[in-house]
Symmetry: C2
């Protein structure tokens, strides 16, 4: 089994492999968030996506999110994996699993995790539409990089 609970992969994500990292006797609740590639965004049809990450920094930031969750929900255990490379419609891009003794915390912490991923993890996606392509900069999609993905300077 993979040693870290926070990782980037080029391969198909197995949901079970993420969930099994957080199953434990003291937890009665696991919430998972699964992000999949959606075909239509604002009426525009996506053919496929390409994700790239600055991998060491991305894994460090995913790990940081786990630490943040532990601070706010001390009984929680978290695992997160994000896929990079070519993804087709309905492919799984990200899986988050959070286990807690009781369910309210699992839902809240998992929601926190996906919001933080979109805020701080350096992963970009290139949208391939029927009529062109575009690198989407930050994951909140508030910034685009028409000339390509951000440079390492943009990460600091």
């Amino acid at each position: 089994m993979r040693q870290s609970d926070f990782w980037i992969t080029k391969n198909t994500i197995s949901i079970e492999s993420v969930v099994e990292k957080v199953v434990r006797p003291k937890a009665g609740a696991i919430d998972t968030f699964i992000g999949t590639v959606r075909e239509f965004t604002k009426g525009k049809r996506t053919l496929f996506l390409e994700y790239q990450a600055y991998v060491p920094m991305a894994e460090k930031k995913l790990t940081q999110i786990g630490t943040e969750i532990k601070q706010q929900w001390p009984d929680a255990k978290t695992a997160i994996v994000h896929r990079i490379g070519h993804l087709d419609i309905t492919d799984i891009a990200v899986v988050i699993a959070v286990s807690t003794p009781h369910r309210a915390d699992a839902f809240e912490a998992c929601r926190y995790a996906i919001e933080r991923i979109k805020e701080i993890v350096p992963i970009w996606k290139k949208e391939h539409w029927e009529d062109g392509t575009m690198w989407i900069g930050d994951q909140k999609e508030q910034q685009t990089y028409p000339g390509g993905k951000p440079s390492e300077e943009d990460l600091t």
Copy 2:
């Protein structure tokens, strides 16, 4: 593949088998809730659990929850499976998966589903502790049946 999206099973639940029922091109977000058997509840150690259901009614009520979600979140698709029989610590008792175009709805609808399961679905559990057993009546655990599980009259 199983035809219904709402079912009771005596077998180990595969999370992927539930999620695959809600994956679709228009959804970018899937939230799943996984309920597992917790070892300690209020300081008391559980050895294992036994779930029983009034199966036709339980499946009908799970289906009803899917309908209620569709009314409140028209773009959502839901699948729910609950296991019955003997479950050991960390075994999965229930899996809910809800897919929606955007993530806020997936979290809300999934949370709604688990609350409704505990309110309306006729499934009882028998706690096996180190020093005895007890049938827990309703899933909110506000009612016990010291003489055994409820009769069918209790269901109406």
